[in-house]
């Protein structure tokens, strides 16, 4: 819950359109939990684009007081972010939101990432690794090139199972289908809405449990504006709109109501 002018330490274009940005932000690094996000002011010198952009915390180095973001350039805000250079300041709000919880028992843990969905999951994998929990990581991408951070994830003590739409690497097809072949006891997921919906179906079918990280257009990022509504099911089965920025972005898979 900080407003920080963080210095950019590194801006790497990992693939055209995919950037990793490393910030010097000691307090944020100390506080951040996997699944939380930063509300980033991509262009503090202008009124258009007007709003901040939510970007997950991708990796944290508490020793060095560094926080990394991993993002895809899809519009004006992310393009402005990508234009920033080492040494520039970036105004960030956060860490915000409810992150992932640690796996409840000793069961098998899986992590399912679709495309840029690996962004918050990587930080989770860092934490799981630090807690000596080894996960099966299902990495999905359009094409082999976009299977990011495979070796780093292995290095953290996890097993990587790649899937690509075009079959250029690993399993050819949908990453959820790959995961569905031998589901685990607890699953973490992040990726496009359609992928998460089918992941939730698999989770339900196999009566296991999981947590998924959602996206919605955000205004404030702090729970004040009610813009980031996502339909959820309460204890008693009644539906309501929850705020992705405060009650999420991570939700127990069973809570999310898909339309």
């Amino acid at each position: 819950m900080l407003i920080t002018d963080a210095r950019i330490i590194k801006q790497e274009e990992i693939l055209p359109g995919f950037h990793r940005l490393t910030l010097a932000a000691g307090e944020v690094a100390a506080k951040a939990r996997p699944g939380q996000f930063l509300h980033v002011h991509c262009a503090a010198d202008r009124l258009d684009p007007f709003l901040r952009r939510p970007i997950s915390i991708h990796a944290v180095d508490r020793q060095r007081g560094e926080v990394a973001l991993f993002y895809r350039v899809v519009g004006r805000g992310t393009a402005l972010l990508a234009a920033k250079e080492k040494g520039d300041q970036l105004n960030i709000l956060g860490p915000l939101g409810r992150g992932f919880t640690m796996p409840p028992g000793k069961g098998k843990v899986a992590v399912v990432a679709g495309g840029i969905g690996i962004a918050p999951l990587y930080f989770l994998l860092q934490e799981l690794g630090a807690n000596k929990i080894s996960a099966d990581v299902f990495l999905g991408a359009a094409t082999g090139q976009q299977l990011f951070f495979g070796s780093e994830i292995t290095g953290l003590g996890h097993n990587v199972f790649p899937a690509t739409d075009d079959g250029t690497a690993g399993y050819q097809g949908n990453v959820v289908s790959l995961f569905a072949r031998g589901p685990s006891d607890f699953v973490y997921g992040c990726g496009p809405a359609a992928m998460l919906q089918s992941l939730c179906r698999v989770i339900e079918k196999h009566k296991i449990r999981g947590e998924i990280s959602l996206e919605e257009r955000m205004g404030c990022g702090v729970g004040a504006c009610l813009s980031c509504a996502c339909k959820t099911r309460g204890q008693e089965g009644n539906c309501r709109y929850s705020r992705v920025c405060v009650e999420g972005p991570v939700f127990p898979s069973g809570e999310v109501v898909w339309s």
Partner: protein, 315 residues
């Protein structure tokens, strides 16, 4: 009126307090309803006690689920929202949220909205009993709900009827919030004033929409939404200017305020206080930054009392 010649101003004695229809604000900077939650959301970022007033999210008699997402889309230098008055209802508000604000030293203004004229009266009667409520802001201008909302704000007579219903149900100061989506905001303001409103606030959002050219469908779940942010400021300043000229009531001005300069523009146009809306999303400390900038302007321009600036552009 020509500006004072930047003279002797005692910085420690700047007079910032303003009076809005019976509510005394220690400074002219308030929050705009729906953009600041119920205060607690921003307590980690600013000291709420420093605010002139806290205006909370619109409250209805019954809880409201709100509209289907997407509820927000960014436009050029603005945002369209279609929240649809999601709120826990007046009872839960009074039970769970209002007590949390009792500890703060600031007027809490509750924004109310109804489906019927009776709803407004009932809300006023219920909230009128609460010590923690300094005043009511009557939202007759929400473009994001199917029933009520804008329909009450667009006809001067209907607006007056709602005002009367609220006034007769409570002794608390009543601020009526006007819509810019009308042929004559002055006509509505005059009728509302005649019906006994203690103050006016303006503007609520402009009715707008956006279409996704990839899907070829409206972006918002509710199809249309309310435009706010810097893009609308000239429309809001004009509304304040016109109403100040025609009607004697105090005005809370809002619409696109981001900086102190923006706020001062509203005050010169005739606003006795200002409210910060969408700018909070970008800068959680926007209210405090605006307040600091107003003080600086006063010092630099030799203005000892903020009240000297209200309406000063009407030469």
């Amino acid at each position: 009126m020509t500006p004072a010649a930047g003279g002797m101003v005692n910085e420690t004695k700047l007079k910032l307090a303003v009076h809005i229809g019976g509510i005394t604000m220690k400074n002219p900077v308030a929050t705009a309803s729906g953009t600041f939650g119920f205060g607690a959301e921003y307590a980690p970022y600013i000291d709420l006690n420093q605010l002139g007033a806290l205006v909370v999210k619109g409250i209805t008699l019954q809880p409201r689920a709100g509209n289907a997402p997407p509820r927000l889309v960014e436009t050029t230098a603005g945002i369209l929202n279609a929240i649809g008055l999601q709120n826990p209802g007046v009872e839960e508000f009074v039970d769970k949220l209002l007590p949390g604000l009792a500890g703060y030293d600031l007027p809490v203004i509750v924004n109310i909205a109804g489906d019927t004229v009776q709803d407004y009266g009932r809300l006023a009667a219920r909230l009128g009993q609460e010590k923690g409520v300094a005043g009511l802001e009557v939202n007759i201008s929400c473009p994001n709900v199917k029933k009520g909302g804008l329909q009450f704000g667009s006809g001067p007579d209907m607006a007056a009827e709602v005002t009367r219903a609220v006034k007769s149900a409570t002794d608390k100061p009543v601020i009526v919030k006007l819509s810019p989506n009308v042929t004559s905001i002055v006509a509505v303001a005059e009728k509302v004033a005649g019906a006994g409103a203690d103050a006016l606030s303006m503007i609520n959002t402009l009715l707008g929409m956006a279409i996704d050219i990839k899907t070829r469908l409206p972006i918002l779940g509710n199809v249309v939404g309310g435009l706010s942010g810097p893009a609308v400021r000239p429309v809001a300043v004009r509304a304040v200017w016109q109403v100040y000229q025609a009607v004697g009531l105090p005005i809370i001005g809002m619409g696109g305020i981001v900086t102190a300069a923006d706020a001062i523009e509203f005050i010169l146009a005739g606003a006795g206080a200002v409210a910060i809306g969408a700018a909070n999303f970008v800068n959680p400390r926007a209210t405090m930054d605006v307040l600091a900038g107003i003080k600086q302007y006063m010092i630099e321009n030799g203005v000892q009392d903020i009240n000297e600036l209200i309406g000063a552009a009407h030469s």
